[in-house]
């Protein structure tokens, strides 16, 4: 099943996010690698996903989990060789799985040769590849993102005796995108990977590319200019490839990154995710419907990217103070669970390992308008280790079986890049792929079914959404529609059974067919349609005329 030729393929995608390092170690050095990943493509195909998003695998000092790149044009030797990558890519495409890779445009590692040259002297030709200043008072209106570790966006370089600009860690100097040479070089880097066959880029930290005095240095028109330029080149030379924006912004600010369909194809919907967790905890759909109402319409060719959890903390930047306090109190009671403005935990522990809530959240993820992302390990309900620093607690090795190192590596456990989960609830003996494959009712088996049903129709990826607002605020109901196909989704966000009356008058005379069991429900009449729902239960109904 080779990759299909459809320019809008990303709308129907189900993305699986994984770090090469965390998936499978074939060499026995304690780090996952491309050969290992290639071996597990069968598993991914079986799971039903059709797109892989790989986190940075470039050579790097690994002080920010690979987002500090020291060479853009090869593979970190820890993960194999460039040939390993090419081989992996080929195998993936054969299985109909597309590959998204990371492209960190905003900054490099301070170990990158470009920066080494740039800092070597003020007169170096690469000097203005980065942002240098004599004072640390320029761009005062700019916020600091990593509040827990950084005091300023400027760092002093003792070598060339000037400050350099960094929006993230001080070991990640920002590239100077005002410099045409930088633009050309970065496009060249992208071409390098596009030529190899990579299907899409996730462009990291997009809003921060360009700096201007007197602004907050985020979402500037010049930044949009850079993106438009890249997109034009991409469409011209590599049609059918895709750009995905990572921009942790409000939907209205994000909207600009779709422009008229000539910037990004996709962007993450950051504010929705914490509100889904909030809705389930509050047992109230209000946070979810409100944020989706605030979400602007986007061009036909564009798509939102939805996720429950990823490799970063569950970010709470896009919520009010009231909401953030609530989220902290409900989802991160221990201080160690908090990081920056967020919660560094995985899906299962966040939801108290409650199968019903995990299913409900995944059900919502798969049925809302957008392309869903499954973070590796969440399909089997892996746990996190909050005792590891930074966000490493959610980046522990994939748990394949109950054997040596959880089947991740043959190396000595001490040499693994990260300790395995060992506790009796989430440890690899309790939670692993092998044991879940043995049972039809395991979370893994259930996820497979969910993804299969999601992929059985284009409505979820491409259809419109209309909320129903039943008077019972604990029930979130919406109708997805594409052409003459209509799907009704009803979610009970409450921990108790609920009765809900749905106004389905426009569909009078139709019957409902539940999509998981394909059972027929009563015909829709004049009266409000009464449904009773168990705790955290959700239904997907096809609305069909008979």
């Amino acid at each position: 099943m080779p990759v299909q030729q459809d320019a809008l393929w990303y709308k129907d995608a189900v993305i699986y996010q994984v770090h090469v390092r965390s998936f499978l170690d074939s060499s026995g050095d304690g780090n996952g690698d491309f050969r290992g990943l290639a071996q597990k493509l069968d598993y991914l195909q079986d799971l039903g996903i059709n797109t892989l998003w790989l986190m940075p695998f470039f050579p790097s000092p690994l002080r920010d989990d690979g987002y500090d790149i020291s060479d853009y044009r090869t593979v970190n030797p820890l993960y194999g060789t460039l040939d390993d990558f090419k081989n992996f890519l080929e195998v993936a495409h054969k299985r109909g799985i597309r590959v998204i890779i990371e492209m960190v445009l905003n900054h490099t590692s301070d170990q990158h040769p470009w920066f080494q040259e740039s800092r070597s002297s003020r007169s170096n030709p690469r000097r203005d590849w980065y942002v240098w200043s004599d004072t640390d008072t320029k761009y005062k209106g700019t916020r600091i993102i990593f509040l827990d570790t950084e005091l300023s966006n400027w760092a002093w370089d003792p070598v060339s005796k000037q400050y350099y600009w960094h929006r993230f860690f001080s070991h990640q100097p920002d590239l100077n995108w005002d410099n045409p040479a930088v633009r050309e070089e970065m496009w060249d880097v992208m071409r390098f990977w596009l030529d190899m066959g990579v299907d899409a880029f996730r462009l990291d930290a997009v809003p921060y590319l360009v700096e201007r005095e007197g602004t907050n240095c985020e979402n500037l028109p010049e930044t949009h200019g850079v993106i438009k330029d890249l997109r034009t080149r991409l469409d011209r030379e590599y049609p059918g490839r895709m750009l995905l924006a990572e921009a942790n912004q409000w939907p209205s600010d994000l909207r600009a990154y779709f422009s008229t369909g000539d910037e990004f194809h996709m962007a993450f919907h950051f504010p929705l995710m914490p509100r889904m967790f909030m809705g389930v905890k509050l047992e109230d759909r209000k946070p979810i419907t409100e944020i989706l109402k605030q979400t602007p319409e986007i061009p036909e060719t564009c798509q939102w990217c939805l996720f429950l959890r990823n490799h970063d903390e569950l970010t709470l930047e896009m919520v009010t103070d009231l909401e953030r306090d609530y989220m902290y109190d409900e989802y991160a009671k221990e201080k160690a669970m908090r990081l920056n403005l967020g919660i560094r935990r995985r899906l299962a522990p966040l939801l108290d390992n409650d199968r019903r809530r995990i299913e409900l959240m995944n059900g919502m993820l798969m049925s809302m308008p957008g392309t869903p992302i499954v973070y590796y390990g969440d399909e089997i309900g892996m746990g996190d280790n909050i005792n590891l620093g930074d966000r490493n607690g959610v980046r522990t090795p994939m748990q394949w079986d109950g054997g040596w190192n959880g089947g991740f590596s043959t190396a000595d456990p001490e040499t693994l890049y990260s300790p395995l989960m060992l506790n009796p609830v989430y440890g690899f003996q309790a939670v692993n792929v092998q044991s879940q494959k043995r049972f039809d009712h395991s979370l893994l088996a259930w996820m497979k079914r969910l993804i299969k049903i999601r992929k059985s129709t284009a409505v979820f990826g491409r259809g419109s959404i209309q909320f129903l607002y039943p008077a019972n605020h604990r029930v979130l109901a919406y109708v997805r529609k594409l052409g003459n196909e209509t799907i009704l989704v009803v979610n009970n966000l409450s921990s108790s059974a609920q009765a809900v009356e749905l106004d389905l008058k426009p569909y009078k005379g139709n019957i409902l067919v539940e999509m998981f069991g394909r059972n027929v429900f009563p015909r829709i009449g004049d009266l409000p349609y009464l449904l009773t729902m168990g705790p955290y239960q959700f239904y997907w109904f096809k609305i069909r005329r008979v």
Binding site: R285, K286, K293, H473, S496
Partner: protein, 421 residues
């Protein structure tokens, strides 16, 4: 089994949509469109500010308003269908129902209690639609003790005019304090809060078919809490707004206060006859709660109505009062207005004899209560004269004096209770 049949099917459907709540705020109304909007907005602001995480509902029990009161309450809802810029975490339902029967605060309270019981509200506040001076803080001061400290009944303390609420200050408050041993300044509250525990206990009491289930039910609730020895707390709220509507009829007020007090003494003699430990009712944020603006009062009329009552109701009084008390009152009636004084001990004995007469039903019980009205006017006149120039602290101590008289005369009450005239 709480009687839930008082809730209409339509209302129950709305309650299903509300679901289980932590806080229920009840607003009993009847043609209150002038003020209810403002009150409900303040309640909502209080809920959002002080209990943002709690599942709350505002329930309006209406007695058949025709001025759009109910719509004004419903407009306070916060949900995802109507856009609002309020920083609300949750949906807030604000619903309204019209109870059956004539408008009566007791029936409204019954409806609110039944709804609270159905929704398993942990704390329930009732706010008068006439509380125009309501601040969002009131919601917090009423509900916090119930939610955080496990108090069962929170009664308000208002800053009021020194001559406001004279029936409360000269009769209900002293009798409650002396007879039941509980010092609550506003035993007949219009804004108050209670726990689910007290609420469902009260709901299950056998009073809803009787008079106290319709009028004066709030006083009955206070008395039930005192008699059941629930945890009571008083919260200082602030100035109570005065409405410009005609004040209520004194006979009606007497029925709702003295009538219910006597009735409860008659029903629950064990609760006060044996001396019990006083029931504490600590007060949060209390301060001298009187204001002193001048007020015009027709004292001549009070005096005239007292003497007129004494002379005209002679046969009634002779069957209620003991001879010495009656004689003393008759003597007072002969005094000119400027020398007139109905002293506290005599007032206390009079009230106690009325209570005993009520208990023994020497004449129709309602007549006993009505007969007290002219005598109260005499007491009111004395209070006005006594406190004409009084400052805050003097008022307080004068009210205390009334209480002490009632406390001192309690043995006399026990003596006359079963007929020892």
């Amino acid at each position: 089994m709480p009687d839930e049949s008082i809730l209409s099917d339509e209302f129950i459907r709305e309650l299903i949509n509300v679901g289980e709540v932590d806080i229920l705020v009840g607003v009993p109304t009847h043609n209150d469109a002038r003020t209810v909007g403002q009150v409900v907005q303040a309640v909502r602001a209080g809920l959002l500010k002080y209990f943002p995480r709690a599942r709350s509902v505002i329930i309006n029990a209406d007695g058949g308003s025709r001025d759009g009161t109910r719509d004004l309450v419903c407009a306070a809802s916060i949900n995802d269908t109507v856009g609002s810029n309020l920083p609300a975490l949750r949906t807030l339902h604000s619903i309204s129902t019209q109870y059956e029967g004539p408008p009566a605060s007791g029936t409204a309270l019954h409806t609110i209690l039944a709804a609270a019981d159905l929704l398993q509200a942990k704390a329930c506040a009732v706010i008068s639609p006439e509380s125009t001076s309501l601040e969002p803080e009131w919601v917090e001061r009423l509900l916090r003790p119930v939610i955080r400290e496990g108090v069962d009944l929170v009664l308000p303390v208002y800053r009021r005019h020194k001559f406001d609420g004279m029936l409360i200050r000269n009769l209900v408050y002293p009798v409650t304090r002396a007879v039941y041993g509980c010092t609550v300044q506003e035993p007949y509250p219009s804004d108050y809060a209670f726990s689910s525990n007290l609420g469902s206990n009260f709901l299950n009491q056998d009073l809803w078919t009787q008079e106290q289930g319709r009028h004066g039910t709030e006083l009955w609730l206070t008395l039930a809490a005192i008699i059941g020895r629930y945890r009571i707390y008083q919260s200082f709220l602030g100035t109570r707004g005065r409405l410009e509507s005609p004040p209520s009829d004194l006979v009606k007020a007497m029925r709702e206060t003295a009538g219910l007090l006597f009735c409860s003494m008659d029903c629950y003699p064990a609760a006060w006859k044996d001396s019990r430990e006083p029931l504490p009712a600590p007060c949060g944020g209390c301060q001298p709660a009187v204001s002193l603006e001048p007020m015009r009062v027709n004292r001549k009329r009070l005096h005239q109505m007292f003497t007129f009552g004494i002379s005209q109701l002679e046969p009634v009084f002779s069957s209620i009062l003991s001879t010495p008390t009656h004689e003393e009152l008759k003597r007072l009636a002969t005094l000119p207005e400027n020398e007139f004084e109905l002293p506290e001990p005599l007032w206390a004995r009079t009230v106690y004899e009325f209570a005993a007469a009520y208990h023994r039903a020497v004449i129709g019980r309602d007549h006993v209560v009505q007969a007290l009205v002219p005598l109260f006017r005499g007491r009111a006149l004395t209070f006005l004269t006594e406190n004409r120039e009084a400052k805050e602290s003097e008022i307080e101590s004068n009210i205390d004096k009334v209480c002490h008289a009632f406390e001192a005369e309690k043995p006399y009450l026990l003596q006359v209770w079963d007929g020892g005239k």
